[in-house]
Subunit: 762 residues, 2 copies
């Protein structure tokens, strides 16, 4: 009942909204970014949903012959558009990450002789996988469909928050199978599967858990799976040969044996099917227990109406997507924009059962009362634009995410806020402690329904963790010495920015001692600037700069996912001082110009993760995050029209609808959030301040429906591919004589009008 | 506070009891049975306690070079009296089992250079283990002490229900260590350890869990450990090389790194100690969570007073042991008796946190409201005498145990009552479904504060499980065919007895159809009797008896842990018919006489588990359970004096205080319960009936303090080593003209007087 009332509420909201006529869903192309570097997935999920039910076209091993297998990187989201076969459909996926995990509970329907191994892409007939064609593939928000050609099975997927819903249309067969493969997983390797426990409760219900040690070191995911039709037989193969078999040997376990446990298990369920018969599966997951999964299942999808669940999921998307209504003469612009909105609203993901229970970092169960607990915090990416975007269009969720981050701190034995965390684990990926930016941005923007003083305290404790990643050196010496801790310049710059965020909050809360400590630390960027060469440069423990140094090289030069040309520009909290330090506005403008226009020699396109020609303009790397604010820096050098020009170029070159439509990993929505902001005409160059730097809006009009009931309208006069230059800006009808707007100016409602033209207004 | 009030309540109870003057604890010798076959342990536990904190003298691998290692059997309880070294002290142990598991969380104090491997028994200096001597060893109920000679450390252990309390007296050293070895375990092998997760919460608190796959396939045990003094440094070695190391590499993990996770981990904690300084450790366990372990710790042992906790534990024992007060001129008799009481009151063990939470067979957390949830059900052993004993002296606990068994059924995906279960796992060890005997015995004796009709239903479902261990054949054919399912005669006989138990309950509850079904099945023992040879004998699927057959041989003859000579006598529910079938009273008496007096040829003492000369009189095997009722069968053949004679012989030969004082595995108290009943003068030959068959009491007087407030006194006139024959019996002053007493005669209170003499009263 709950979900039906919920649906009707949503539907009535939509009906009374301004934009009910337009089917915003039609602009969303989940297939975007599924080719090469985007690392998105095409499957079914609802906004911020716990389940991401999506096809795997392969799941390579992280290791080959004891060494890292670089090909695994392609399969961060389990799907690569160029592949010709589908292995199956699993329930958990990251959207756009550059390292991976998950891919839990792979399901595959087949007919004929049972094959329990997946087979190879070259010879799909050697296993249970199937050929497929993009011509039969449909990927919509909360819906995915594909024909599995080898056995003639139509696969359809939808999902609620915590339940994946499969619908398989079979041919007539007395050998129809559903395979449930617990061995399959993303970034898999022989020992990633720690334990699997499965119970066939009755002839339609299966429960259990899967425990893995991968990017998340101690991860347990529970499930409850129900079939629409009783299976006639079932069985499993236990490939775990190295554990004690015990007195289970007294049973015939070849089939219909309801207990399965081990490291490596595949199960199957057999049916007779008539031609066109649909076998449906509801597959609920839980971070807590199989009991929790069952609760989720019963609460979210009590019935068997696939179309209704699909409609409910799509209604949730419609509601979220309509938070920003754009007008544009270009269908491509609308597709780019709403696909970006879609990708921005996938991560972080819900991480609790319907009753609020979730697993904490301490592996104990906790309860979230009155808010949603989230996981999947790719913070080095998302603090830049995604969380600032949430402060505008998802403030309630963003506050809940921050509460979830504070929960993480409370449960952390390191007493640290999340760095990169997922599924009750800290994976420690990337650098900095950018939770503090997310927290500061929310507090400074007045979106802090949590205890701000406590939030400041946990930021400070995090930032004083001497054993963390060179931080002790940084605190003692004002920079991270490269010979003590690699990527030292990136770390120094990002710590300095994060420290500035802490200082802002301390100042706002009147915590003077903390302000003094951290505002001082925020100047540490100066300590890694080598004025002799005009770049940030790694320093050694003895105070000297590292001798061998190539500012174009990305690897082993003191930076991470960026070279000195890009990363030297990373002082978002003090661009004026940075520009002065780097030779003043003129010289800095030349640096920016060169960055965008230089021709990077071939040798710098190493065949490594994240650095390919897709995401690069000149030497400007948009495919990675450290430069995401860079095009806006012209606003500080007296050349705002260059910002406007560059932004439009990046929007055009780095994004388009289609499988190869993303110039780099979407990184849990950060790339998409950049698109959303920039196409609306402003960008949060420095989260933690209340300012958004103006760029060049690429839409004709945008209406932001704010949670406070107000509306902020962006009206863009005369914009077009050639009319990218801002001539004049009115805020609520009055001329704006600055290059930024503030958060409160947006949240108070009103309108901003950009007048565009084909010539730069110098 | 709770525990102190509790203590004072107990103490006042004891003070007002009749026996306060006598220190019953002094008769308990926990060391009894620690040599060779007894498989008991000498460490500290409270009655039915969740923690059994005891030394390991070795922990061999279950496998050697991929094959079963027969030497592991010695170490079912982790301790062998003949060993010269102690490896450490772990927190969970079975008492007296013939297969094993547990040995969780091994702690060892050392000084000097840190050694993280245990070393070998021959060269203890090669590792952290230490030499010890029995001369410094003290083993009392709830207290154990030993000097660890290598480093001169005095180790003392005590425990509350859920918390082990260690007290180590160190020499002066700036290199004092506490080692916490998660790799150590009983019945260990390379892949038994599935996962270990540890957090050093602060400088005195460590939490985590250990997950194993052994006899219990999916077992997780949580812990919380606190030190009385902050450690100065700590560290761990992670021997897990086959999992993804991830971005933990960004930390220096060599020491003081608070997160540990992997398959194989050893941790250490360092201290400076002055001469005679005591380092104390409280180590709480939980089946549910580290939060649960902390709750247990805080509730049960809030302070640091080792002696007080020891006193509280010993007060608990005093209370339980005083439920039967015996008088005897023989100190050995008292030591035997109270050691047997001690061993009878260890298993089953508490399996829930102080708040009632426990892990179910479905791996979900459940809550026991208003009763104690128990685990460790060695039912093939304990249904015979231990649970019947509980119905007299521990009726509340026995009812709770039955509730725990019904919980097990409710959580079982097989929909079966426990066979041999421990720690939220069914290990399926041994045969039959003897839960039904325990349930029937309680119902028939009026100790059923649970829903008896539901209990009957679950017994019936269990007994109709066609896939279980030959049961389908048994149901169809009236016996288990040996060529389809081994140990077929034992199974047929025990199923028949269990079925009779079900029939009794059905009759009592007026469930006629069930009565008819199961009373018919209870006659199935007839189907495996071969009258041509006068023995029970395996039959084949074609109806014929197995040709090659040796009634003296234990292995591969259709029986388990017994030969045809012993096992053919297993029709406890119908001795009269069995005797008639086997040739009548005279011939049957001759069979019994031969059993006790024949000389078993050497070849039958195979070097295998459970069959050694220790536990055998003639061909009568007391060291295993199937014959435990046999000596009482003379009561049915007109030779009760032979019962009396044999019982006294068995009491004398099979039990004495001392390490080698048990003639076989104590089997979670069954061997001890036999001793208690038999020395009191009666025995439950057929649990599920309300009768106790009379034997020959070996005490001068016994007073049973019943939970209903009544007292049952056994007065024995003139008994002694020579005066073993009963001349006359008075029940409440009136001559008893039968060879049994009933349960209600005991529970109503009163007295029975045995008049003994040196000559058989024929």
């Amino acid at each position: 009942m709950t979900s039906r009332i919920f649906l009707s509420t949503i539907l009535s909201c939509i009906c009374c909204s301004l934009f009910a006529q337009e089917n915003v869903l039609s602009y969303v192309k989940p297939i975007t970014g599924t080719q090469r570097m985007g690392h998105t997935y095409p499957g079914a999920t609802v906004p911020f949903g716990m389940v991401q039910l999506s096809p795997e076209t392969d799941t390579l091993s992280y290791e080959m012959n004891g060494k890292y297998n670089p090909d695994v990187y392609k399969y961060c989201a389990g799907y690569q558009y160029e592949d010709k076969t589908i292995v199956g459909f699993s329930h958990t996926h990251f959207s756009g990450t550059g390292h991976s995990d998950l891919g839990d509970f792979l399901i595959m329907p087949t007919t004929g002789t049972l094959q329990l191994n997946p087979g190879t892409a070259d010879h799909p007939e050697s296993g249970y996988r199937s050929r497929f064609s993009h011509s039969t593939e449909v990927a919509e928000p909360a819906y995915y469909k594909v024909k599995l050609e080898d056995d003639g099975i139509l696969a359809e997927l939808t999902a609620s928050n915590r339940v994946g819903f499969h619908q398989y249309t079979f041919p007539a067969s007395d050998q129809s199978h559903i395979i449930l493969d617990f061995m399959s997983g993303i970034y898999n390797y022989p020992n990633k599967n720690v334990w699997t426990f499965v119970r066939v409760e009755n002839d339609t219900l299966v429960t259990g858990f899967r425990q893995t040690s991968g990017w998340a070191r101690t991860r347990i995911e529970y499930f409850a799976m129900v079939f629409s039709k009783p299976f006639k037989e079932y069985g499993h193969r236990n490939y775990t040969n190295d554990v004690y078999k015990g007195f289970y040997r007294k049973f015939d376990q070849t089939k219909n044996f309801p207990e399965m446990a081990g490291r490596q298990i595949r199960a199957w369920f057999d049916f007779n099917t008539t031609a066109g018969e649909k076998i449906k599966i509801k597959f609920a997951i839980s971070p807590v227990s199989t009991e929790g999964a069952l609760k989720n299942l019963r609460a979210e999808i009590p019935g068997w109406d696939f179309d209704q669940v699909k409609q409910e999921g799509q209604a949730l998307w419609t509601k979220e997507l309509n938070k920003v209504h754009i007008e544009s003469g270009s269908r491509e612009e609308k597709e780019n924009f709403y696909t970006a909105m879609y990708h921005a609203f996938i991560n972080p993901t819900t991480y609790m059962d319907v009753d609020g229970q979730y697993r904490g970092l301490d592996m104990n169960n906790h309860t979230a009362n009155g808010y949603t607990n989230y996981t999947t915090f790719s913070l080095w990416d998302t603090y830049r634009a995604l969380h600032p975007l949430f402060n505008i269009v998802q403030p309630k969720r963003n506050a809940d995410m921050i509460q979830s981050m504070i929960n993480h701190y409370d449960q952390s034995v390191q007493h640290m806020l999340p760095i990169w965390s997922h599924y009750a684990n800290e994976n420690w990926c990337m650098i900095g402690y950018h939770s503090v930016s997310v927290i500061a941005d929310a507090i400074m923007k007045g979106n802090a329904p949590f205890d701000a003083n406590k939030a400041l305290d946990v930021c400070v404790t995090t930032a004083r963790h001497r054993n963390y990643d060179g931080l002790g050196y940084y605190m003692d010496m004002g920079y991270v010495p490269e010979d003590k801790n690699g990527s030292s310049v990136s770390k120094t710059l990002e710590y300095a920015y994060d420290d500035w965020c802490i200082a802002q909050v301390a100042k706002k809360l009147g915590r003077t001692d903390i302000y003094e400590e951290f505002i001082k630390r925020s100047n540490n960027y100066k300590n890694v600037y080598d004025k002799t060469i005009g770049f940030m440069r790694p320093r050694l423990n003895d105070g000297t700069f590292k001798a061998a140094f190539d500012p174009l090289q990305t690897h082993d030069q003191g930076f991470i996912e960026g070279n000195a040309w890009n990363y030297s520009l990373y002082v978002p909290h003090n661009p004026d001082d940075m520009i002065a330090m780097m030779g003043g506005k003129k010289q800095f403008t030349q640096h920016l110009d060169s960055l965008f226009t230089m021709e990077l020699p071939d040798k710098y396109f190493a065949e490594t993760e994240d650095i390919t020609r897709d995401g690069i303009i000149g030497n400007y790397v948009h495919g990675n995050e450290p430069s995401h604010h860079v095009a806006y820096l012209y606003n500080w050098t007296g050349y705002p029209w260059k910002t406007q020009e560059r932004i439009r170029m990046i929007l055009k070159k780095m994004y388009h609808p289609g499988p190869d439509g993303l110039g780099g990993n979407d990184d849990c929505g950060q790339m998409s959030a950049w698109y959303i902001f920039s196409s609306l005409g402003f960008y949060p160059v420095c989260p933690g301040s209340d300012q958004y730097s103006l760029g060049s809006p690429a839409v004709d009009k945008a209406t932001l429906q704010l949670e406070n009931g107000k509306t902020f309208i962006i009206d863009v006069k005369n914009q077009g591919d050639k009319n990218v230059y801002v001539q004049k800006v009115l805020l609520n009808g009055k001329a704006l004589d600055r290059l930024y707007i503030t958060h409160s100016e947006i949240m108070n409602g009103g309108n901003i009008t950009f007048f565009m033209g084909p010539k730069a207004k110098k």
